[in-house]
C-alpha cells in the first residue's frame, strides 16, 4: 500500500491505495469522485505536468485533478 494526496480545487484528501494504483484508476475511482466532487472528464497533473492514465502513481505523490475542457457540441 502507498499514500497519495489528491487535490481538486480547494479540496484535498489523503488516500491509501494499492502499490499498482494508476492515474487512470484514480480518475475513475467512485469514492474519490464522491469525496472531491469531480466528474468523468478530468486530467491528472503532478507539478503541473499532465500524466498518462496508465502510469502508476509514485508513493507520496500529490496529484492535482483538473476539469478537462470539452469541445463544442
Amino acid at each position: 500500500m502507498k499514500n497519495i494526496t489528491v487535490k481538486y480545487g480547494v479540496d484535498s484528501i489523503n488516500k491509501q491505495v494499492e502499490d499498482d494504483f494508476t492515474f487512470g484508476e484514480l480518475q475513475e475511482n467512485d469514492s474519490i469522485k464522491a469525496a472531491l466532487g469531480f466528474g468523468d472528464r478530468t486530467k491528472a497533473l503532478v507539478e503541473g505536468i499532465e500524466q498518462d492514465s496508465a502510469t502508476v502513481i509514485p508513493p507520496g505523490t500529490t496529484v492535482r485533478l483538473e476539469t478537462a475542457a470539452n469541445t463544442k457540441a
Binding site: K7, G9, T67, A73
Partner: protein, 231 residues
C-alpha cells in the same frame, strides 16, 4: 573565492574538498526563465462601468482579469410553467426575452477574461463564467454555451484592443448582448430550477433557486484558470 577543507569521511578516508564561489550576473532572461510561472495579483486594478471593479492576476505572457458580477443577462427563450417563467433554451417557439437574473448573495459570480500580449495590442484569449461558494469552490452553472471548464462560447467579436480596460468592456458587452442557445446544453431541468422569474406588473422578479443547496444543480470545477481567479 576558493576555500579548501579537509574532511574525514565516515569510513575513515581523508578527503580534500575545494569550494569555489562566484557571484552570477543573472540577466533578465535568466530571471524570466526562473519566474515564468509566477504571477502577481492586483486587486481593484480597474473599474468597468455598469459592472464594477476588476482584479488582475498578471503573468509573464498573459493577464487573468476577475470581475465579480451580481447578475447574468439571459437573452433567451422562456416558458411559463406553473406561473414561473423558466428558460427553454432549445425551443424555437417560446417567447424570446432579455431577462436579467439577479444572483442571490450565496452565489458569487465571477466573470473572467484572459488577455495576452500581441503585437502592438492586447488580445482577448477567452471569457469564463464561474460560480463560487463561500469556501471559494468553483462551479459550472447549469447553462448552455458553457464548456466543462466554464469557458464561455461567446460567438465572434473583435478581440484586439489597445488596453486591458477596453478588452474587459468589450467582453462584458458581448456577454450582455449575446443570446443563450442550446449549444453545449445538458438537461434543461437544472437550468429551470436555477433560473426562475416571477412576472409582475411591470417587470420580472428573480425567484429563489429551487434547491436547498444551489451547488447540487451545478458541476464542481477545478482548472488552471480558476486557480488564478481573484475572489
Amino acid at each position: 573565492m576558493e576555500t579548501t577543507e579537509i574532511i574525514i569521511r565516515g569510513n575513515g578516508v581523508l578527503t580534500e574538498r575545494v569550494i569555489r564561489e562566484r557571484d552570477l550576473e543573472a540577466g533578465q532572461s535568466v530571471l524570466d526563465a526562473l519566474t515564468d510561472e509566477m504571477t502577481r495579483s492586483l486587486r481593484n486594478a480597474l473599474t468597468i462601468p455598469d459592472w464594477g471593479l476588476a482584479h488582475a492576476n498578471v503573468g509573464l505572457t498573459d493577464t487573468i482579469w476577475s470581475v465579480p458580477i451580481d447578475r447574468i443577462p439571459l437573452n433567451a427563450r422562456f416558458r411559463l410553467i406553473n406561473d414561473v417563467l423558466v428558460p427553454a433554451f432549445a425551443s424555437s417557439t417560446d417567447i424570446e426575452m432579455p431577462l436579467v437574473w439577479q444572483a442571490p448573495k450565496e452565489v458569487r459570480l465571477i466573470f473572467v477574461i484572459r488577455t495576452e500580449f500581441a503585437k502592438d495590442c492586447l488580445k482577448i484569449d477567452g471569457n469564463w463564467l464561474f460560480a463560487c461558494d463561500k469556501d471559494n469552490r468553483g462551479y459550472r452553472l447549469p447553462l448552455p454555451n458553457l464548456h466543462d471548464d466554464c469557458l464561455i462560447c461567446t460567438g465572434n467579436f473583435d478581440d484586439r484592443y489597445d488596453s486591458g480596460g477596453e478588452c474587459l468592456t468589450a467582453s462584458l458587452e458581448q456577454f450582455r448582448k449575446s443570446k443563450w442557445n442550446a449549444d453545449l446544453m445538458r438537461t434543461v431541468e437544472q437550468s429551470q430550477k436555477f433560473f426562475r422569474f416571477q412576472p409582475t406588473n411591470e417587470t420580472f422578479e428573480t425567484l429563489p433557486i429551487q434547491a436547498d443547496d444551489w451547488t447540487t444543480l451545478c458541476d464542481k470545477v477545478s482548472t488552471a484558470i480558476m486557480e488564478r481567479v481573484i475572489l
